[in-house]
């Protein structure tokens, strides 16, 4: 296991390096330091102010190669800072990015954790229910509905949800956020509901397939032959055996909880990391964007390692070597 872990971590490190390098390449292939400065200072900023900004933010260094001082390049500095977790300040407003992360992660988690925690039992329950009635009208209707639900853009759900629930029925505020947990629920009800509904489509389809596939296995027939009821077979036999795909599917979502939900946060006025990422893209804010991508990549790799370890727990046949 330890050899596996070392190998896995090395692979992860290589991936992070690649991601950082690729990000640098992509960003500076499309944006010049002058773009970043112009966005930060405004259209009317005179050339002197732009030049001053570029120097003070270190974007005047050679980009990749500096024969005089090989470490004095933007690329080197980019890697040095990220690997040292020295996130620096936002290019848009000079606020320390670490502080932004601290401020935003709570708001993001308050939306994504309920989405995640409610989403799992909802998707599993609904797909068990549909698989239970497999090959009946319930199953077919369920699958058709699921395909319809997953085919429609989340934007439509957001706008329709805001209009239906917020404007016509007036059950919840259309948008907003409050850090006070006592009133937070009323703001989150609508985005969580919309997120759950949208996520349910693809999850239902995926898990139904998993369950239906499992129910045709030998052990299920054996269980029925032993006289176990359908409910017992689904809950005690099929569900545990379907845990591998479920784990794979759900654990890789965990990093996304921290990095937030881009559109939901933007439309519902939740000041999380997802909406911060959108702002950073809009503002050509390389400093913030690279941190978000870097943190996202780290979390993703961590989640994959956790998934693999979790395999050994739910399935004793799996060995990590």
């Amino acid at each position: 296991m330890s050899a596996w872990l070392v190998r896995r971590l090395l692979w992860g490190a290589a991936t992070v390096f690649g991601v950082l390098g690729f990000l640098f390449l992509l960003f500076f292939a499309t944006a010049e330091p002058e773009d970043i400065a112009r966005r930060a200072l405004g259209e009317k900023a005179p050339p002197e102010a732009v030049a001053q900004w570029i120097t003070s933010h270190g974007y005047d260094r050679p980009r990749v190669w500096n024969p005089a001082a090989p470490t004095d390049t933007m690329l080197f500095e980019h890697f040095r800072r990220m690997l040292a977790f020295d996130f620096g300040r936002s290019d848009a407003d000079d606020v320390p990015i670490a502080q932004r992360l601290r401020e935003g992660v709570g708001a993001s988690l308050s939306l994504t954790v309920p989405l995640f925690l409610l989403g799992i039992p909802l998707a599993l329950g609904a797909s068990l229910f549909v698989a239970f009635f497999r090959e009946t009208y319930i199953d077919r209707a369920g699958v058709v509905l699921a395909v319809v639900v997953m085919s429609v853009s989340i934007l439509i759900y957001i706008l329709a949800g805001q209009y239906l629930i917020g404007v016509l029925l007036r059950w919840f505020p259309i948008s907003g956020f409050d850090a006070d947990p006592a009133v937070l629920a009323r703001f989150l009800a609508l985005p969580v509901g919309v997120g759950l509904l949208h996520g349910l489509g693809s999850d239902l389809r995926f898990y139904r397939t998993v369950f239906v596939e499992e129910t045709s296995r030998d052990y299920v027939r054996t269980a029925f032959a032993k006289g176990a009821g359908e409910g017992r077979v689904m809950a005690r036999h099929v569900l545990p055996n379907a845990m591998l795909p479920i784990l794979t599917h759900e654990v890789v979502r965990i990093p996304g909880l921290f990095t937030g939900a881009l559109l939901l946060e933007s439309f519902f006025g939740i000041p999380g990391l997802g909406s911060m990422t959108v702002d950073a893209i809009d503002a050509n804010d390389f400093a913030t964007l690279r941190v978000m991508v870097y943190v996202g990549a780290l979390l993703f790799i961590a989640a994959q390692i956790v998934t693999d370890v979790a395999y050994t727990v739910v399935d004793p046949r799996v060995r990590l070597t």
Binding site: T30, A31, E32, E34, D35, A40, L41, G42, K44, A45, P46, E48, A49, Q52, W53, S56, D93, D94, V95, P96, E103, G104, A107, F132, T136, Y137, I138, L159, Q162, Y163, G166, V167, L168, L169, R170, W171, F172, P173, I174, S175, G176, F177, D178, V183, A185, R186, F187, A189, G229, E230, G231, S266, F267, G269, I270, P271, S275, M276, V278, D279
Partner: protein, 683 residues
Amino acid sequence: MRARPVAGALAARLPAVALAALAPIAVLACGNNPYPGGDDALRVLYTPYSAPPKTLDPQVAYATVDHDVLSNVYETLLEYHYLRRPYELIPALATAVPEPRRLPDGGVAYAFTLRPGIAYGTDPCFALGTPGATSRELVASDLAFGLQRIADPAVGSPVLVTFAKIRGLAAFGERLAARRAGEPGFAALRIDEQYRRAGPVEGLRVTGPYRFEVVLDAPYPQILYWFAMPFTSPVPWEAVAWYDGEDGRPPFAEVAVGTGPFRLARYDKRSRIVLDRNPDWWGARHPEWRAPSALYPADGEPGDAARGALDPRLAGRPLPFLDRVEMRLEKESIPAFAKFVQGYYDRSAIPKESFDRTVSEGRLGPEMEARGMRLERAVRPGVYYLGFNMDDPVVGAPAGARARKLRQAMSLAVDVPEFLRVFLNRRGIPAQSPIPPGIFGYDPAYRNPYRTLDLERARALLADAGYPGGVDPASGRALRITFDTPDTTVQSRLRFQFLIDGWKQLGLDVELAATSYNQFRDKVRNGAYQLFFWGWVADYPDPENFLFLLWSEMAEAKSGGPNTANFADPRFDALFDELKDLENGPRRAARIRAALARLETERPWIELFHPEDYALVHGWLDGVKPMGLPVPVWKYYAVTPDARAVARRAWNQPVRWPAWALGGLALAGLGPAVATWRRERRA
């Protein structure tokens, strides 16, 4: 038989399942009010903002949303009369608008006198100056300190070019930078000490605790307008020294320590900004001063009385009328507008998607009128235009009369009213010259002979120019002109295509080159462009701020200035040189008319339109008049919270029956499922 107990158990559990499904109804009772615990008794203004402010540093901030916040917390020496147009300066922190005093050496001095007894809002930073202090009086040196910050390279102010007209200010910045770079430990000194050691600025003379003088190297009457902009706000050195972003203290760009009618009570800029009425504001403490910037004006421009801007409950009353301003971040316009319609915002812009539902033929729709809303229309002091690169050999000055006729012809083929109708919901007025309404020199009766749609005349001019039917005799094909834009969005492509189609009717082949902003800048820098689309919004309401865009000294090719058309016309320059320093009056008006006549025939620009803002305001919000300039306005606003509370309750009763219906539907849907399951079990 085995199935029965399970089915029975499920059936027994059904009511519990149904109850769980209906549980959210318990929450529904609270309805859609986004301000739980909101105080109906306080006079609070609720207003959305679409992007977080970049900085609250008054010497740096240039974005509208930055100014929305900080111009209500900081104050300036001068302000604008809230209602009169053309815009008029009034004294604010100063006791009077100063007159220029010519110096024998060619310089000009402006002497300001501060009102004594003005104090900063309470803030812990003042303990740096006097231990235990939480506030102090505003003194003249704070104004000098603010202006010195503009020259400080570490501050990064975008307006140093303008303020470098103050004698010795730029040199001060250079000395400061040199000592920071050259002397170990200098940069670590407290900021006031650094400025003191860098030596005085000749053009900033503090002559007493309340008196100071600004000396310019040469006449520049527009400087007074800059003293009504946040860049010149006095700043206490204690705030800059204390808020350094270290040890948990926010950076200076994230706080606001001013003398104004409001103070920053909360700054979660990515979700919520709250300004509270400043109980210690000098305007409220000294109503006997009758200071013009602390009273709602008693007179305005014609029409103000009719639109309610001179309501006797407001006119002549001491400001401010609000207790609090609640700003909420709404990045998307649709939810923001929906909340406005529900009464949860007091004012709102109109999103494109809702425009037709809201406004028709420039008037408010019946649905909105029934809710008591008002439509506030205001032309922004700005201009959008198409510019020619006057250095270009085909469309520019090198081609002489031929190119002039080509430009005139192209100008006659642009249908602005149709452009505004199709793309901007008619939000804008066609421009006849660079000068927009509300600015001295604007003449509503003026009609530019080259700014109407007249294809016949255009074709004749084109033939005259040697391009009959748009054909270039040199190549035998349609004359090709490149139209450069730094905008690659689909919407803008449609807009530009509309213009190109106009020229196509003359036979011209105009090709759109949409690139990134940076590539566009590169082309401009290298002179490799012919035609471009651009806009300008005034910094201050003076014709100079528009006509300088065509002054040869400001040419992109010559000085990197904002004269992107590289227009260089000796006669226009001579007129501009004269009119820029004149006082508003008949002499200046005559020079402006003559300068516009030059533009009329020379056509370096095809003026398109002056943008118009449409805003909706609820009936309970009074004292709203759009300003179009970065100036404090909230102190003039007045809300009637009782009327708002009544309307909010009436408009937002939750509709609960669909919840029960949904619950019933869920139950009804389970029934057949259970039946099927039982049937299958029996089989």
